[in-house]
Structures are given as structure tokens and as C-alpha cells.
Symmetry: C2
Subunit: 188 residues, 2 copies
């Protein structure tokens, strides 16, 4: 971020009055341009004991499997976002249930939300960002080819909770240490 | 948003290829500048049967009471954000418990998260954005002077759940209709 989106003048990094960290401040109009984390809204589409995964046709993680999800848009709710992303990536219609898991990823300034969902019909297909969309039984899940740690973690919780059919909220922080080791720190 | 934050050239509103809505696209470098919802991280600081509220010293809702909270920052987790905001607004140290309520506010592109928390000591005081910080018993809550509907809703849930000491996750969408009427649509 180098130029003011409002007036086009140069931005400087400085700590504004009454603040405690550097922000992009316009040298001319003085407006402070904050940068904040984004929300990724996802669904866990279920059909009996199977779950629907999408094989990514885009980077990052081209060719790996993920749950349908993407950036929450302005002017929508989290539920609308999860439903929209499921339709876009898997051409699938779902009934959204409760929030099932969420993760903070401070190294990339994201919060991921996963909603349990039920497929309303089996008329799904690959959307623009998917190579293939497929239902998997537990023993078929391609654990070594899952695109993102939050997706693996959500699937692990799901198959632990499924026998009892009790689905409490799970949450964790996904942290990368300086030596690039990853840890998933559950909240409970 | 009128100028490209990357190169300073003019932006145009157009629908990029493979997209379905207008974005700010740079006429010169071609970069697409997405705009997405922000996360507000809050705590519900409890001490025995009392809760800690802050009287706002800033707009909007100057002089009204709220739970401590604010914009989640880059490079932090949701828990760190809720803890930080509680320290900044109420100079209060808390132990954060589970996520207790969350709300989508699509008219202002925000998602509000509220964490139940326990005050670690009674050494709290007004931070820069508060005129006053005070513990309230249930019968003392100034219901007519609460700053935000998500805060009122969270406090209502809390005092319903408190007798049983079972605190399930509550969630809702706060929607304004065209005639500016507000509805709080619970998810469950």
C-alpha cells in the first residue's frame, strides 16, 4: 500500500495519535487506511456418512482437496457466504446448520469459519475453481492430499463427532513458529 | 476508493473476468482491489453475577454503554484481539472462555464476535475510548442506554443462561430493511 485510495497522494507508515502501531497515513489528506483480517466462509456438506470435497483448480494448493469456501463478501451474512461459496465451487445446494469450527490464522490475517451443512440433492458438479467435486466416505478421505490444515482439522473433528451425532463448536489458532513449524492450538 | 493503493493510478468499477460483481480495478496495473467485511472482537467480562460495561467516549454512540471490543488487528488471533480490546477500553485483564455469541451485520460489512470472560482482578478503569467503566448487576443494566443491538442481545442471552450456568453459542443476523426497521434473526 503506497498511495492513498481516496486522493492518490503518497502514504507514509506512521503511528497515529492515540494509536499503538504503524498505519498507512496519507501525506496529503491525512486519512488513515487500516488493514484488517479477512473472513473465509466454508461449508462441510454432508450426505449420510459422506462429505463433499472439491479438488482445487486454482493456486494455492492446485490439485489438492478442500471443503467449499472462500472470502466473505460485503453485504452478505456468514451463512449467505457459506451457501454462496458452496454453490460457486461445487454447484451444490445445502441447508446450513450451526457453526462447527473456526480458526485464526494470524500469519495470513484470516479467520476461517466452517458450517455443518446437508446436501439438498446430489446434483453437484465442479465450479470454476474446482477440477472435480466428489463425495467421500470416511475411509476414502485423501488425508495426504487435503489443501489446508483447517480443512483436515474440521474433517477429523467431524468423523470423531459423527458416531454420537453431537457436534459441538471446535476452535483453534493455526500458528507458524519462526522455524516454519506449524501448530494447531485448540481453544479447549 | 478512487486511486490504486499500489501504483496511484485511477481505479474503475468493473466486473473482472470469472467474477460476478463489480470490483475496483486499476486502469494502469490491472490489480483488483477487493473490499471485505471486518471482524469486531469483544469480551463479556464477568465477575460473580456482574458484568463490566464501558461508557463510550467516542462516536458513534458517544455516552452509551457497551461491552469492550473493537476491530480485530492483523497478526493477531480472535482471542488475542478480545483480550487486547478489553485491556485498551477497560484497562481490565480477563481470562477468555468460549465464543458466546456472534452476529453478521451486512449493512455495515461487519461480523461481531463476543467471548465470555472472567475478570482476573478488580483493578479496571476507563481506557482512552471510555468515559467510565463499571460493574453492573442484572437489575442495574441500563437497557435503554446500550450502544449496539449485538451487545443488548448478548447481555439478554447471558442473563437467561446464567441461572443454569450453561452457555451455548448464540448467533444471529442483524438486518435493516428498506424502511430502516431492524430485525435480529437468530440462527437457531
Amino acid at each position: 500500500m503506497k498511495y492513498c485510495p481516496g486522493c492518490g497522494s503518497k502514504l507514509s507508515l506512521k503511528i497515529p495519535e492515540n494509536d499503538d502501531r504503524e498505519r498507512h497515513v496519507c501525506d496529503d489528506c491525512g486519512v488513515i487506511h487500516y488493514q484488517n483480517p479477512n473472513i473465509i466462509v466454508c461449508s462441510l456438506p454432508c450426505y449420510k456418512d459422506q462429505v463433499l470435497l472439491c479438488k482445487r483448480s486454482i493456486e494455492p494448493r492446485y490439485g489438492l482437496w478442500t471443503l467449499p469456501g472462500g472470502f466473505m463478501e460485503n453485504n452478505e451474512t456468514t451463512l449467505e457466504g457459506a451457501r454462496r461459496e458452496t454453490l460457486e465451487e461445487a454447484c451444490a445446494r445445502v441447508e446450513i446448520h450451526s457453526l462447527y469450527s473456526y480458526y485464526s490464522l494470524p500469519h495470513i490475517n484470516q479467520v476461517h469459519l466452517f458450517y455443518r451443512a446437508t446436501l439438498l440433492d446430489l446434483d453437484f458438479s465442479a465450479g470454476d475453481e474446482s477440477l472435480e467435486v466428489k463425495l467421500f466416505h470416511h475411509h476414502e478421505i485423501p488425508w495426504e492430499e487435503i489443501a489446508f490444515p483447517a480443512v483436515s482439522n474440521t474433517l477429523e473433528h467431524y468423523y470423531k463427532d459423527l458416531p454420537e451425532k453431537i457436534f459441538p463448536l471446535h476452535s483453534a489458532d493455526i500458528i507458524y513458529t519462526e522455524d516454519k513449524k506449524r501448530s494447531i492450538n485448540s481453544h479447549h
